[in-house]
């Protein structure tokens, strides 16, 4: 196989989302039959619960499709969460798998030593019907991670540092390697792999090591074959990053790739809203760090904080472990698991002229509400610290955070 080749592959699982109900292509032309109903999972995540009649009608159509095609692996409101995070915790992602999903952050699954790429809804219909899809072979950049995260730096900062240095790299892939990988748990790896969608890559794949093995074994997956690069593999280039030198980072408004700075360089910018959540950063570790920073403190009266856990089980664990009560006592809103404001769907849209800092995945102009809003992106620790300060600050400036 050479870069530029197109390969056709069989998929192990297809994930269909509620948002497909907003696509007239599907609603007007639903599939008459599917390749294997047991390999199709339906997860409601983008607009949960329905924020308006249009979304309610769309999701009702998907429920109808679920019945018509006997798609029994179905997660309606209250039973799943944001698909990428829910699939990981459910043991759907493990080495060697190929999964098709209607969402651009499907690259998240690369943390599990496997392949998944986002597809549009009409194309996902093709995969539902045929069980096959195609990938374009691209060149690969090797990202060599060394060292360990230190201080208040998080996996998001590792990604933002990479994004600033590398810029966009459409049609290419990333392969993660190096001793530093072993120092990252699966939550941290999925933050990085998920965010690689912002670099415009096709795939971002981590090795199949012991950390991954114990994660998937705990979720009932015993048999699989990890994939590893050929000894003769050639790369388009290499990038080295010592994670112990990574400081808290932020993306400036409107784009991520090639648009990041150390948080210290932009501190003092007043924020009207702070958001913690998304498939990347709505994990239990995000709730934990937010609770640690907010404990005994209050959200600054000049701003507001919205926290959205990624899945129902993270939501529940966050309550059991006391993170959510701590966050609520600090004066934040904790919502049910959903994509919510990450894509401007509901629950916390931005008004004209507002400035926000978010640990979600995208800061495009207009994405989270008004087209006149400015969106900075950072780690959940930086967002929580900024919520306390009412302005962008580094988490290390809040005593006791670490």
């Amino acid at each position: 196989m050479e870069p530029g080749d197109i390969v056709t592959v069989s998929v192990d699982r297809v994930i269909l989302l509620d948002i497909a109900g907003q696509h007239p292509e599907l609603i007007q032309n639903p599939p008459a039959r599917v390749f294997d109903p047991s390999k199709i999972s339906v997860v409601f995540d983008h607009f949960v619960p329905a924020p308006n009649v249009e979304m309610a009608n769309g999701t009702a159509k998907i429920r109808k499709l679920v019945k018509r095609l006997n798609l029994n692996d179905f997660y309606d409101y209250g039973s799943g969460g944001i698909a990428h995070a829910f699939a990981a915790e459910s043991g759907w992602f493990y080495p060697g798998q190929i999964v098709a999903n209607t969402d651009s952050h499907s690259v998240a699954a690369g943390a599990f030593n496997m392949l998944s790429r986002g597809l549009g809804t009409p194309e996902l219909m093709q995969v539902m019907c045929t069980g096959k899809t195609w990938f374009a072979v691209g060149e690969t950049l090797k990202v060599d991670l060394s060292g360990k995260l230190s201080g208040m730096s998080e996996a998001k900062d590792v990604f933002l540092k990479m994004a600033g240095d590398l810029g966009d790299m459409p049609n290419m892939n990333i392969e993660f390697a190096g001793d530093g990988v072993m120092a990252l748990n699966m939550d941290q790896r999925t933050v990085i792999s998920t965010m690689c969608a912002e670099l415009s890559v096709e795939f971002a794949v981590f090795p199949g090591d012991e950390v991954l093995r114990s994660y998937v074994q705990e979720r009932g997956v015993q048999e699989y074959s990890p994939v590893s690069p050929d000894p003769s593999a050639s790369y388009a280039g290499a990038y080295q990053l010592d994670m112990s030198e990574v400081v808290p980072m932020a993306a400036l408004p409107d784009s991520v790739a090639g648009n990041t700075r150390p948080v210290d360089d932009i501190q003092g910018i007043k924020v009207d809203q702070c958001t913690i959540g998304s498939c990347a950063n709505g994990k239990l570790s995000d709730l934990e760090v937010a609770a640690r920073i907010l404990k005994g403190r209050k959200v600054h009266p000049g701003t507001r904080l919205i926290v959205t856990p990624a899945t129902q089980s993270i939501y529940l664990r966050g309550m059991e472990l006391g993170y959510i009560p701590t966050i609520v006592k600090a004066g934040a809103i904790v919502t049910n698991p959903t994509c919510g404001s990450c894509m401007g769907g509901h629950m916390g849209l931005l008004a004209d002229g507002e400035t926000a800092i978010t640990s979600t995945t995208r800061n495009f102009k207009g994405r989270m509400g008004s087209r006149d809003a400015r969106i900075y992106m950072a780690s959940s620790a930086t967002v929580a610290a900024s919520a306390v300060a009412g302005e962008i600050v580094s988490p290390s400036s809040i005593p006791g955070g670490s």
């Binding site: 609603i27 986002g118 019907c129 459409p170």
Partner: protein, 169 residues
């Protein structure tokens, strides 16, 4: 789709993302009204100036972002071709699946500007700039993709293969 097309160019810069082409408000609008919001945040009023048969020429990383049907909005406005320095892989597939061809060409933004008229020959893989007759070649779009474009998009492919239920949801 014809093997030769000719159209007037709209110029765009780098990093034109899917959320600009398909703002979140589109999700709640009837299909026919969605294209009116294309580039609503970065170039208000543009959508109403587009004529059927127009072409977009853009810079790097065109279409970065989500799987939303951004290309369908361009098709809805009458755009018949996108050319860019580099193109996001997901946008490329979504475009092809909506029947919209996309060409990558290094240096296109230095050569073609807004207002130019260009002719594209998909058989011979050439682009001609009408003003001065200059010609450049592009790499042939793989047959797998070109066949989808020629069929009018992936739904039409599925329909011809008998996969589409005649009863809407």
């Amino acid at each position: 789709m014809d093997d030769k097309i000719s159209g007037r160019v709209w110029g765009f810069g780098d990093d034109i993302n899917t959320d600009l082409m398909y703002p979140h408000i589109c999700y709640t609008l009837p299909e026919i009204d969605r294209p009116k919001y294309t580039m609503w945040a970065n170039r208000p009023g543009w959508a109403s100036q587009v004529n059927r048969g127009d072409i977009i020429v853009a810079g790097r990383n065109f279409g970065v972002g989500s799987s939303r049907p951004a290309a369908a909005n361009l098709v809805g406005l009458g755009i018949v071709l996108v050319m860019a320095e580099t193109v996001n892989g997901l946008f490329m597939r979504n475009a092809v699946n909506s029947g919209l061809p996309v060409l990558r060409m290094d240096g296109i933004t230095q050569w073609i500007a807004e207002g130019d008229i260009i002719q594209v020959d998909f058989q011979n893989c050439t682009v001609t700039r009408e003003q001065d007759g200059s010609v450049r070649e592009f790499n042939r779009i793989p047959d797998l993709l070109m066949n989808i474009v020629r069929s009018g998009g992936i739904i039409e492919v599925l329909r011809s293969q008998g996969y589409i239920d005649s009863e809407p949801l």
